[in-house]
Symmetry: C2
Subunit: 284 residues, 2 copies
């Protein structure tokens, strides 16, 4: 069973209403007068990190990729639970974990530590408090909205390739928590760019039932000579969002397109309709 089939099957299980049909990055649950945002993302050796990776970077990324999902909901981190498999360089793992928890004020709530053989996988559950309700979803983009990114894409790709100026972008990504909180009251849809700008925009378009028309010359990329790769590589963790044309945005952003009525393609890049998500980014 591949990932897509597995997720389809999961959707047939009893789902909490806050699971949003497993169509979004986080669960959103109401507890009394508060709204919690909860996510769980994993990292597996061989898939998400190399066998010789610095385990401090792995721990940092495990935390920050989850916090990036909270950022896309405008949530403030409350705490995290760690699922850890013991192994090589656990002391380095703990250093990176300490750095990330401290930097983003996300204290440890609990978790589990187990012994296992072979390549390792780690899990992290991040819990945040929504700062604005309704909590932004992927599905709210409206025709006429402008489309924005909080920053350039492709930096993590260059860092992965060894570019010394972009090492941090790949190994130590920064979740856009402050930006997400500032933007949450204004956006119509928001998500983080984890799997590639085009693929994530495609998903937002499909969830919203609209077409996202992106203007290639407006998209900030780390290396214009490798535009096509920059917009397909993931791991940058910028926020992709839509907002009404008249919205006055409180943070620096790049307007990269316009939401248009649902056409034959969910995504249009300049004059090019894009219909096949398999060609648009990193699916894992």
């Amino acid at each position: 069973m591949n990932e897509a089939d597995f997720i389809v099957a999961l959707r047939a299980l009893p789902l909490h209403p806050g699971a949003r049909g497993l169509q979004d990055d986080c669960a959103v649950i109401t507890i009394g007068s508060e709204t919690l945002v909860i996510t769980h993302d994993m990292m597996a050796e061989g898939t998400h990190f190399r066998a010789d990776a610095d385990m401090a970077d792995v721990a940092w990324k495990l935390v920050t990729t989850n916090l990036s999902d909270l950022a896309a909901k405008g949530a403030k981190p409350l705490g995290v639970l760690l699922g850890h498999v013991l192994g090589r360089d656990d002391a380095r793992f703990l250093e990176g974990l300490h750095d990330a928890l401290t930097t983003f004020d996300a204290p440890l709530l609990g978790g589990d530590t187990v012994a296992a053989q072979g390549p390792r996988s780690f899990g992290l559950t991040a819990i945040g408090r929504a700062t604005h309700t309704p909590v932004p979803a992927r599905s709210g983009a409206q025709v006429g909205d402008h489309i924005y990114s909080t920053g350039a894409v492709g930096r993590a790709m260059l860092g992965f390739g060894g570019d010394p100026d972009h090492q941090a972008a790949f190994h130590r990504p920064i979740p856009r928590l402050a930006e997400g909180i500032a933007l949450a009251p204004l956006v119509t849809a928001m998500m983080d760019v984890s799997d590639g700008l085009l693929l994530d925009a495609f998903r937002m378009a499909e969830a919203s039932g609209v077409t996202l028309a992106l203007e290639p010359q407006a998209i900030p990329v780390a290396d214009p000579a490798r535009f096509g790769e920059c917009v397909r590589w993931g791991d940058d963790y910028e926020l992709l969002f839509t907002a009404p044309k008249a919205a006055v945005l409180p943070v620096a952003t790049h307007r990269i397109g316009t939401v248009v009525p649902c056409g034959p393609a969910p995504l249009v890049l300049g004059d090019t309709p894009l219909t096949d998500p398999a060609s648009l980014g990193y699916r894992h």
Copy 2:
């Protein structure tokens, strides 16, 4: 780094106050007027299940071992998040997951699914609402309290060994959710017996700063001829708790001892003081 060292190091990280110093089975956080109980436990191939295990049983156990932690806090399940590594018999895994989520009314909130090589490990985060505050901890046993178990230990051991009458106890454990909710207002300390009655009682004694004096003849075991093994094997998921002598208990239980002042050994079994936790149960 072994598990004990790793957990000691985790305790030096920034901890949420609700983490209870990572000394308990669950985190307990207050959200407005509600109290949430949160736990994350993993299962790894080779450590917690065999390579040829029925994956439906693995999924069931992944859910129910986590719900057992909620039971020990008197919490009602709100939902779960799954960390899944794709592989063999995922359809069977989904069947067991469906059975467990349905049986215990614990809908899926979200999670992650990844591809990875080698033996697999799974994680599950379970979130529940406390039905009584203060939420029971391991640390509240008081001198003079009586010590109780909700049922016999050793059944999972017999099931693991192939005894047809006890297969379900090993493969399909039942979290004592109703019992935990009924008992929470009355207990002074409570935990689930996951790693062996003696080891878990030892931990409760240490957390509470008392000695637990157990009466061997009063401890219900699945096979009296293998008493020593029954009280050291885990996986039974009965609740171990202490309550004031005068408490009128609303569920069927077995009184198995008395809390006495902290002596040289945290645990006494009949006339035998037990001081070395390594000899008392299953540590993983």
